[in-house]
């Protein structure tokens, strides 16, 4: 991985409309919107604001990596740009590492801006040290998982349209199941709630708020569901690599190498 390639990936990310809108503007906009919408219904405003802050911070990796990275990468596969870089001697590994580092940088900047804006605009409680480590740890681990998931989806479909459709659906599905669309996971219908409980977002949304202000937090379900999601993502990535190796995935501007 080279500095120039990292710079290239940063420009690639920052010039993507999807990444900017969903990664920067959307989380801040949604927190502010929901805080105004539900602000009058609760007595403890700071608890609401803290919960919204935690929940919508997690939409940043979903937007930047699950949608943004997947769509960007699919576009590179579809146009043949990814292949061209490989033909010029860049290994897939170095390309992937530069993408990961650029995304990591972007995720951190985005979270920092989000934290500053939301903290200034709303009454977010000051977190306990344990909550900060838990939140940040989960933020980056969850990011790594959705990066793998997004990359796998992009590799399998290899076309912007299909990848956009799939990742957008997953994005809103995860937001609904994670209680980020105005309905708390516990208020979801029974069957849906059980699915929600299988996701780490549920345990963060429902219980991190107490831990944030010094309460207790049971890490076991969070770790188990995070591992479950990681296994699912890695499995899908493995499937993508296997399909590609078997030649079952056609990629590039022209699907076949005829002529």
């Amino acid at each position: 991985m080279s500095w120039k390639l990292f710079k290239y990936e940063i420009v690639n990310l920052t010039s993507s409309v999807i990444t900017i809108i969903f990664g920067f503007i959307f989380p801040i906009g949604m927190v502010l919107l929901f805080s105004f919408a539900f602000g009058g219904e609760v007595t403890d405003t700071s608890a609401l604001h803290t919960q919204l802050f935690i929940q919508f911070a997690l939409t940043i990796p979903l937007a930047i990596l699950l949608i943004g990275h997947a769509v960007n990468y699919a576009s590179e596969l579809e146009s043949g740009a990814a292949l061209r870089f490989k033909l010029f001697g860049h290994s897939e590994r170095s390309l992937l590492v530069s993408k990961m580092l650029a995304n990591l940088f972007f995720l951190t900047i985005s979270l920092a801006i989000y934290t500053i804006v939301v903290s200034l605009a709303l009454q977010v409680n000051a977190p306990s040290v344990g909550a900060v480590f838990t939140f940040l740890g989960f933020y980056y681990i969850f990011s790594a998982i959705v990066f793998v998931l997004g990359h796998a989806i992009a590799t399998i479909f290899g076309q912007v349209g299909k990848v956009m459709g799939t990742t957008m659906t997953l994005y809103f599905l995860l937001m609904i199941l994670g209680g980020m669309m105005g309905v708390q996971p516990d208020n979801l219908p029974d069957g849906v709630r059980h699915i929600s409980m299988g996701l780490p977002l549920y345990w963060i949304t429902m219980y991190l708020n107490d831990f944030w202000v010094g309460g207790s937090f049971n890490f076991v379900p969070l770790i188990i569901t995070t591992l479950g999601l990681a296994v699912l993502s890695i499995g899908l990535f493995g499937l993508a690599l296997w399909l590609r190796k078997k030649g079952k995935i056609k990629q590039g501007a022209k699907p076949a190498y005829y002529d």
Partner: protein, 287 residues
């Protein structure tokens, strides 16, 4: 010793056999090989299989590694919103202004004004130039150019090809160039590989192939009723439907032929290297 020697090469896409080479093909150092054939003949598949971009069965003997072969594909797309300068710098991990060799190539192709643009703002010819610069900068022992000029207008095509020719005039790199524009190849290549339906129809020195398939010299005239009638007495070889190709294997044949053509006021083109006519006759011989 050959730079690359193909003993057998077979590529299949499902049930469709795209390429099936059973005769030995030696690519010697410094060769400039034109690869020609109709659409779907297997030209791109040939280039891609040697570069390891498609799976193949068979035997290719070479000391070259994958990284010693450069290829300019038909489609050379990058992310449209990316600045051209950054694409080049990222690919070579360099700063253009500090890289004299790169600057030389960029100047040689008059590409400096394009560095400020984004990839999507480049014209078709400029996009091709960008990839040619990137390919030439690699300076690999073996380079494939796959239809470099397809989709370009006549003027851009001529300019681009003449630049590539000029570049290689002073270099000893081995080049394989896939093209449908035979006039481009005539000025550049010393060998021809003719592929049809995935099979090699002919491979060898252009002059030798021409002599074998067309004769020493040919005279090409327009195919119309009058020309057809007047030149009926002369031997003919295969030609595209709009042309008549008349071979001449001796000075006296040429004299007889030109006398008639001049007397009748028929415009003609004399050639001892017409790749289009060579190609038609290679196909004709097989069929």
């Amino acid at each position: 010793m050959a730079l690359l020697s193909i003993e057998t090469l077979r590529v299949a896409y499902g049930n469709h056999v795209a390429l099936n080479i059973t005769e030995k093909i030696d690519i010697q150092p410094g060769d400039k090989i034109g690869i020609i054939g109709s659409n779907g003949a297997g030209k791109t598949t040939f280039a891609k299989s040697i570069c390891g971009l498609v799976n193949y069965t068979g035997k290719i003997n070479t000391q070259l590694k994958k990284c010693d072969i450069a290829i300019h594909l038909q489609d050379n797309q990058y992310i449209g919103r990316m600045p051209v300068k950054l694409i080049i710098e990222a690919i070579f991990n360099t700063t253009i202004s500090k890289n004299e060799k790169l600057l030389d190539i960029i100047r040689f192709f008059d590409f400096e004004p394009c560095l400020k643009k984004r990839f999507a703002q480049l014209s078709g010819g400029q996009k091709q130039k960008l990839t040619i610069i990137l390919v030439l900068m690699q300076n690999k022992p073996l380079t494939f150019f796959d239809e470099v000029t397809s989709g370009l207008d006549f003027e851009s095509r001529v300019k681009l090809v003449s630049k590539i020719q000029q570049w290689y005039r002073e270099k000893d790199g081995t080049v394989c160039i896939v093209s449908h524009y035979y006039d481009e190849l005539e000025k550049f290549v010393n060998k021809l590989l003719i592929i049809d339906n995935g099979r090699v129809i002919a491979f060898g020195d252009v002059d030798e192939l021409f002599k074998k398939l067309c004769g020493s010299v040919i005279y090409v005239i327009e195919n119309n009723e009058r020309n057809d009638k007047i030149t009926k007495i002369f031997k003919r070889i295969g030609a595209p439907s709009h042309l008549i190709a008349l071979p001449a294997n001796s000075k006296s044949d040429e004299t007889k032929l030109t006398e008639v053509l001049i007397k009748e006021g028929i415009n003609y083109k004399r050639s001892d290297k017409d790749i289009e006519i060579l190609f038609v006759n290679a196909i004709k011989e097989v069929s």
